[in-house]
Symmetry: C2
Subunit: 120 residues, 2 copies
DNA sequence: TAGCTTGTTCGATGTTTTACGAACAACGAA
DNA sequence: TTCGTTGTTCGTAAAACATCGAACAAGCTA
């Protein structure tokens, strides 16, 4: 029996505006959200940010705790995705507005994904 | 000649998403924005928040520095207003989305205005 | 089993934020 | 000029945050 201790994710009702705004008040985290904005689930190790991995882990935790992302564990690795549906239901229009500006201003420019040469 | 040292306000181009999100990641500041959301300019002394006046001054400064509000000085007193136009131009949809949630969740509930008995 | 990979957690450090009261500066009123 | 009012700034303290490297746990792989 495989018990993979999944991290806790807040339900929509548990999400707070202040926590979400706080999560998005750091350029690296905004960059991560931008990367995930295409709706694709990304492997943790695929994510690239100019910080140590422990720090990246921290940022992903802040995003998860605020309800912005969902982290799934599979074996020894993790996959992250944006909780777009939940966010739109709980905070209508907010995510789109933020992404729009983030793209325009290129916020979190140094965050990206590895150019994974093993798929298309 | 009256030179009232006006505080510096960032122009729309100087406003950053991260600063705005940071400014809105505190319930008192969200409360202040809510109070100002009706478009009326408010006297500083009219504002009520459960913090010392030096702390309120600090919060108003954070909002001003982020570009959310404009502070005008007249004689010995100040008036604050929301920079709705500028915000909508710079961050389309953001303010409305935030206000919508803030109202629904009653964020910053302890912030308000004095019940000014000298009008209506 | 032994070792490798992957991501989290721990401990330390330096910075930023929030908060308060006291001191201050600017202005208007007496 | 001497007060009172109004809001900012200063000094300080506590908490939160970002960051790192080291240690760790869990799961594959050899």
């Amino acid at each position: 029996m495989v018990i993979v201790k999944q991290a806790r994710h807040p339900g929509p009702e548990e999400m707070t505006l202040v926590a979400v705004m706080g999560a998005l008040s750091d350029p690296i985290r905004v960059g991560l959200v931008r990367v995930l904005a295409d709706g694709r689930e990304r492997g943790w190790g695929e994510l690239r940010a100019p910080v140590a991995k422990s720090t990246l882990s921290h940022h992903l935790r802040v995003l998860r705790d605020a309800g912005l992302t969902r982290t799934r564990q599979e074996g020894t690795r993790c996959f992250v995705e944006l909780r777009r549906e939940d966010l739109n239901a709980r905070f209508p229009g907010l995510l789109e507005a933020v992404l729009e500006v983030a793209r325009g201003d290129d916020v979190g420019a140094h965050v990206g994904v590895a150019d994974d040469s093993n798929r298309t």
